[in-house]
């Protein structure tokens, strides 16, 4: 018992000491290795240590149940929908930072300051290299001429849910259901796996076109995913599709400040650092995402896709149609 008490005292002292040093604690659904260079450079210049924990599902639940005792300062997530879920759960707080507002376009952040996009990616189409096609509308993916030739991941994956939700914004729910049935008819294999499998399956002759995110092309072609993936990346060319009455669908990776953030000031500093020119450049280079800040260039591999015309629909509007999109995917039996 005595020992336990001693241990407890030591533990609390440590905990208190830890808090005094004002670390920034990040809960993230993104692999922290992706921003490690940024963390290192931030820690070096400010002396503030950054601790991370990478969660997959249940970020909102964890922060919510931890309540006011939670050590989390920053909540990072991919997909605007996940950020909105955090706000809905009441685990975020609004922040008023001129630096963030100036750097992040209004369409890629919450109007009340609950979340900010830090980088974004486009939902693009990979096509077999020898195919004579250079432009495409998302609506055309349901064209019967692609029957048995389309690869895509699960219709319930957030990347696809956001794309389907955008389609609803542009064409309405009814047309989206028809479109999804068409997509389903065109599938070359089960809607499963990851986006990179699209490129691999095109190389393997299973399909001719695949829907996938833009940055995977950088990850594959650069050799960061290993030699084999270079051959996948080289087997495809990338088309930036658009909606008939709009642009290319994009989604963000972003961050919020936790409601009970113990180190709010440092946390805001870190977010502001993430939208600095220097950080945005590292972001773009390391992850092959589009920088949110105007004037910072994308990586050459990504820039080679041509000019990106970002769809004008605000992300917060797309998020509202997520549930319908997900239910429609179930309705047409997209994954079965």
């Amino acid at each position: 018992m005595r020992q336990m008490l001693l241990g407890l005292t030591a533990f609390t002292t440590l905990a208190a000491a830890g808090q005094a040093a004002a670390d920034v604690n990040i809960y993230t659904t993104r692999e922290p290795g992706l921003i490690q260079p940024l963390i290192d450079s931030f820690s070096k210049s400010t002396g503030v240590a950054v601790n991370t924990v990478f969660l997959k599902d249940g970020l909102a639940e964890r922060v919510a149940t931890e309540g006011e005792s939670s050590p989390a300062d920053i909540l990072m997530a991919v997909d605007a929908g996940n950020l909105v879920d955090l706000v809905d759960k009441g685990v975020t707080q609004p922040i008023d930072s001129a630096v963030l507002k100036d750097a992040v376009p209004a369409q890629l952040r919450d109007e009340n300051g609950h979340w900010f996009g830090l980088s974004y990616r486009a939902r693009v189409v990979y096509v077999a290299k020898d195919l004579d096609i250079n432009t495409l509308h998302y609506e055309d993916l349901a064209d019967p001429k692609w029957k048995g030739k389309l690869c895509i991941r699960s219709g319930q994956h957030p990347y696809n849910t956001a794309l389907f939700a955008s389609h609803i914004v542009h064409n309405g729910a009814e047309a989206t259901e028809t479109w999804l049935s068409g997509l389903k008819e065109n599938l070359a294999r089960k809607a499963a796996g990851g986006d990179r499998d699209g490129a691999r399956d095109i190389l393997g002759g299973i399909c001719d076109i695949a829907v996938a995110n833009s940055y995977y092309v950088g990850l594959m072609r650069s050799g960061k995913g290993g030699e084999e993936q270079v051959t996948w990346g080289e087997a495809i060319k990338v088309i930036l599709p658009t909606f008939r009455d709009g642009g290319t669908q994009v989604n963000i990776s972003g961050a919020s400040i936790a409601k009970h953030a113990p180190n709010k000031e440092e946390a805001i500093k870190f977010l502001e650092y993430l939208v600095s020119d220097e950080a945005q450049e590292i972001y773009a280079k390391a992850n092959y995402e589009y920088p949110v800040k105007a004037g910072v260039a994308a990586d050459p591999i990504i820039a080679s896709f041509g000019e990106l015309v970002v769809d004008k629909t605000p992300l917060s509007e797309i998020v509202k149609h997520r549930k319908t999109a997900s239910e429609l995917a179930d309705k047409v039996g997209f994954d079965s």
Binding site: A15, G33, Q229, R322
Partner: protein, 532 residues
């Protein structure tokens, strides 16, 4: 008392989830019923039947092969057959997807042999299917059946097989008429463990495009932000599992399986020459497909990576975390499992069996769902402690249980209690009641009898259970991801992180480490199994 505490601790997260489910989810069931429910139920059923049949037959046949026959290399096979346990389902799925892909080694060679130019001219059917999923899962799940059944063949069947022989039963009928019926409780335990592993798998299903009800849980929760609805589906799954298990128990409720005789191994039939080699090759095939191929694949990939970038120093910390937490959880789970099973043995009435059954249902739930349940229980406690110490002493303890990783160990125990409780129960079933009575007559308390009589007699099945829990904790991913403290990595989380970034070669080192850690207890266990 201890048993009550075990039951309460095991049940709390499930009850917390139940209260979540009660919060209601408007329109979920009509939507599911109108869309994916039937398909998901059908997929779930086919997957369970398939894995039950394939893994069950494989496990039982292999257990019989190495106990009733003797051939060159049998000793090696006895433990090598356990090796696929060390390979997580998501790894076996990824490996075979890569190897059997049209641009992979196998199809490449076939095309070269047949003279086809490229994959567009010739390719084999896609592994991404329900059949593929059944086969791949069975390859790594059969050891659950093999392990439990072999222990039974070894210790129990021998005497009765000899007796049957003396009474003139032909050798070939022994298996069907004596050994198989006697091993039924063990087979039931093994198969239900394999089925529950298959049921809560999401990694392999994600790779292979199989849409079970478990996947619907995730869709409802993550994509549609409906935790209440997701827990309702999870609870429905539980009902299905509990029904299946209870049905099996009911079907043999009149049968007793105890044996008083000191066991000794069965006299195996010796085979030499070609026949011997044939038997060895037959037994070696599952080891090759379920272990050598994936482990070899990982070794090659890891070697490439090592040449390219060397070993990351993180691996040492990760190894410590992995072993420490899996080890701690194994001890806790073993104690809880023995407590639960022994309390069940001592008890009379209907409540204790029900409590026992309920406290082991964590195993049938997906890891993330268990983790949420644990969060709902532990986080309020953490907040209470933190709030109280702040108020009284002015210091903040932070999150005591979550921050120290204790919540994670708790989650492992809730999740895997079924394994140790099941093996303790199966082991105790073979200890005759007369020994309990004898011990009590000699003045032993129940606890003392447990230590002096039951534990030594059940050592083999308990070690088997402990091994399974340890390996399962090492492989466990979703609960580890959700409940771990800041800056805490295990092999599994490292692997997931790399996979999430798409740096699969780097991931292969962590994957190989998981497999390697999993092998150690397999070797230890095979020794215990032989001595017992």
């Amino acid at each position: 008392m201890a048993a009550g505490l075990t039951a309460v601790l095991a049940l709390l997260p499930v009850l917390a989830l139940g209260s979540q489910a009660l919060q209601g989810s408007a329109g979920l069931w009509p939507h599911l019923a109108g869309t994916v429910l039937m398909a998901a139920l059908a997929d779930t059923l086919v997957l369970l039947t398939g894995v039950g049949a394939v893994a069950g037959c494989l496990g039982v046949a292999l257990a019989w092969l190495v106990t009733a026959h003797d051939f060159p290399g049998r000793r090696l096979l006895e433990w090598a057959l356990l090796l696929p346990l060390a390979v997580p389902t998501y790894i076996v799925a990824y490996t075979y997807l890569d190897i059997l892909h049209p641009i992979g080694a196998v199809q490449g060679s076939i095309r070269w042999l047949l003279g086809y130019a490229g994959p567009r001219d010739f390719r084999l059917p896609d592994i991404r299917s329900l059949t593929g999923c059944v086969l791949l899962l069975s390859l790594v799940l059969y050891p659950y059946v093999y392990l439990t059944t072999r222990a039974m063949f070894l210790t129990q069947s021998a005497n009765l097989c000899d007796a049957a022989r003396t009474l003139g039963m032909p050798r070939r009928q022994l298996f069907r008429r004596v050994a198989l019926p006697l091993a039924r409780p063990a087979i039931a335990v093994g198969v239900s463990l394999a089925l529950m592993e298959a049921l809560n798998d999401v990694g392999a299903s994600e790779f292979l495009g199989v849409r079970t009800l478990t996947v619907s849980i995730y869709t409802t929760w993550i994509t549609r932000n409906d935790l209440a609805g997701a827990t309702q589906i999870a609870l429905l799954l539980l009902v299905i599992v509990v029904t299946l298990v209870s049905f099996e128990r009911w079907a043999r409720h009149r049968q007793g399986y105890a044996t008083a005789a000191r066991s000794r191994p069965m006299q195996p039939i010796r085979s030499h020459g070609l026949r011997g080699i044939g038997l060895f090759l037959l037994g070696a095939m599952p080891v090759c497909l379920g272990f050598v191929v994936p482990a070899g694949y990982l070794a090659v990939e890891a070697f490439k990576r090592w040449q390219f970038a060397g070993l990351s120093p993180r691996l040492v910390d990760e190894a410590l975390n992995t072993i420490l937490y899996a080890g701690g959880a194994t001890v806790l789970t073993l104690v809880a499992g023995v407590t639960a099973a022994f309390a069940l043995r001592l008890s009379t009435g209907r409540l204790p069996p029900l409590l026992y059954r309920l406290s082991t249902i964590g195993y049938a739930m997906p890891g993330t769902v268990v983790a949420i349940g644990v969060l709902l229980v532990v986080a309020p406690l953490d907040r209470f402690i933190d709030g109280t110490t702040k108020q009284w002493f002015g210091v903040s303890t932070g999150l005591l249980f979550i921050g120290s990783g204790m919540a994670l160990i708790y989650a492992y125990a809730v999740r895997f209690l079924a394994i140790t409780a099941g093996s303790a129960d199966a082991g105790l079933a073979r200890v005759p009641r007369s020994l309990d009575d004898a011990a009590r007559t000699l003045g032993y308390t129940a606890g003392a009898a447990l230590r002096a009589v039951h534990l030594p007699l059940t050592r083999a099945s308990l070690s088997a259970g402990a091994l399974l829990v340890f390996v399962d904790c090492v492989k466990e991913l979703p609960a580890t991801l959700l409940l771990r403290p800041l800056n805490f990595e295990t092999f599994a989380t490292h692997l997931y992180g790399e996979a999430a970034r798409g740096t699969y070669e780097e991931a292969s080192i962590a994957a190989l480490a998981i497999v390697a850690v999993g092998i150690l207890p397999v070797v230890v266990l095979s020794r215990i199994g032989r001595n017992a």
